[in-house]
Symmetry: none
Subunit: 256 residues, 2 copies
DNA sequence: GTTACTGTTGCGCGATGAGCAACTCCGACT
DNA sequence: AGTCGGAGTTGCTCATCGCGCAACAGTAAC
């Protein structure tokens, strides 16, 4: 009695999940669960036994009913970590976008590129481009430089030694020069990018940290060079750093 | 290839849980998971398909890797008051941490160990250690002693009769002596721990009760012995007990 | 002491889970 | 544009495993 008639379903796993969903609604005994799911109580007994052995279910007291175990909470930690970044990041980006009038993004590192996961557009934004899901090069974007700057040194060197694409005459493609720039990024705590990905585009990014202090994302503001001048980039860095620190705190990171 | 050789194990459920635990550590692809678990990638593909259909796993992007899905968060979040415990406990811990200047934790009992589920660090905290998710021994921590002290007497005796590890020369490992100490803990309503887990570390814990009055967690304050002296431990007990009573009330427990 | 109920476990069987092979799809490379 | 390699999917087959049945143990209520 599967919830889906697809041949690809694994019935016993499907049943085990049904047990978990039932227990999520409230504690229950074996016979009760069997009645709800329409399977034999010995089946439920065995399913619960596995779930219990792996910590996803626990028994309340010696002979009590069963309930969701803390193993599920441990698993959920991985999902809430990611959800938090996207969900908590959106209003932070929107606030900054409203304040600067420019587009604000959050990007994470994935397999050698930066992927935008959050975007908020300011009132003055001329472009309707939706960057979410877009992959951008690490070496030619402000977010990418932040993500590179805080990588372990071996991985950073590996990534910049791969022949780098030149998008404009300003793109830094020399590995040594880029590594030196990344040192500066790490020490000053932000990365600026002037017309390296495309002419007329300026951007600045700051790090977003996870609960252990590791850099999990970069938050950037970008806009046309005639509006987001080099001077203005310097001016908005403190506001962005503060916002990123707030977001990092929400993600569980408290700077000592 | 089950984690347990018991005939009662349901192999496919066991495997599915292994997939979830792997994804809890970080996103992964089908082939990668198959390699880690030592099963065929078609097996993993089907297991992931079921988990995805029930929301416990989700794919990042069109052809991206797989990650823990929010179905797991629903399971965890919709369970018992223990999730409320985490949510409601955080501000209570933070208030105490701000007041004492020390680290304040909430821990629950899980399979013979204490697991920290909430943490707030005070301004004077020197350590950046994140205890959340960490498992600590019951017999050598103040939280653990609280959790032990309010267990049914048979289970308490069983747990202290297991050979106990000695972490410092102060760790109480004699079962009779520990049981006597737990009687005292139950009668005085708090547990103190002086350099039993590690030298230089003092801690004190009080019980947090669920809606039926049962002890569902322990809330503790810990810090270096030079700051959290034996005298100061006694001084902060009433404040902690009051805070724990407030938290217990929020969880539905009203002492008659 | 008896009854009723819950939960566990041995056993046998057939339905299901799993591996194999072949396939599709996509990105990287030339 | 074409080729190659790798990831992931799916049809098929069959042996293993999951499941239901029956019997049992344990416990609470009467």
């Amino acid at each position: 009695m599967s919830n889906s008639d697809s041949a690809a379903q694994v019935q016993s796993v499907d049943r085990a999940i049904s047990v978990l969903e039932l227990l999520a609604q409230g504690e229950a005994g074996i016979t009760e669960i069997a009645g709800e799911l329409g399977v034999h109580k010995s089946t439920v007994s065995r399913l619960v036994s596995v779930l219990e052995s792996r910590g996803l279910v626990e028994q309340l007291g010696e002979r009590g009913k069963y309930a969701i175990g803390f193993g599920v909470v441990r698993l959920a930690g991985a999902a809430t970590g990611r959800m938090d970044l996207t969900k908590l990041g959106q209003p932070v980006c929107q606030t900054l976008a409203d304040s600067f009038g420019e587009t604000v993004n959050i990007a994470v590192h994935d397999a050698g590129v930066a992927i935008n996961i959050t975007q908020a557009r300011g009132s003055a934004a001329v472009s309707a481009v939706n960057w979410i899901g877009q992959r951008t090069p690490l070496h030619a974007t402000s977010s990418g430089k932040i993500l590179l700057a805080y990588l372990p040194v071996e991985e950073r060197k590996r990534l910049v030694s791969i022949p780098l694409d030149s998008y404009t005459e300003n793109t830094v493609v020399d590995p040594d020069r880029l590594l030196a720039e990344l040192e500066t990024v790490a020490s000053q705590g932000y990365a600026a990018c002037f017309e390296e990905l495309e002419l007329g585009l300026h951007a600045v990014a700051v790090p977003v940290r996870g609960h252990r202090g590791e850099v999990v994302a970069a938050m950037s503001a970008s806009g046309p060079s005639y509006r987001l001048s080099r001077e203005r980039v310097e001016q908005i860095v403190p506001t962005m750093s503060a916002a990123a620190a707030d977001l990092s705190a929400q993600l569980g990171y408290f700077a000592g």
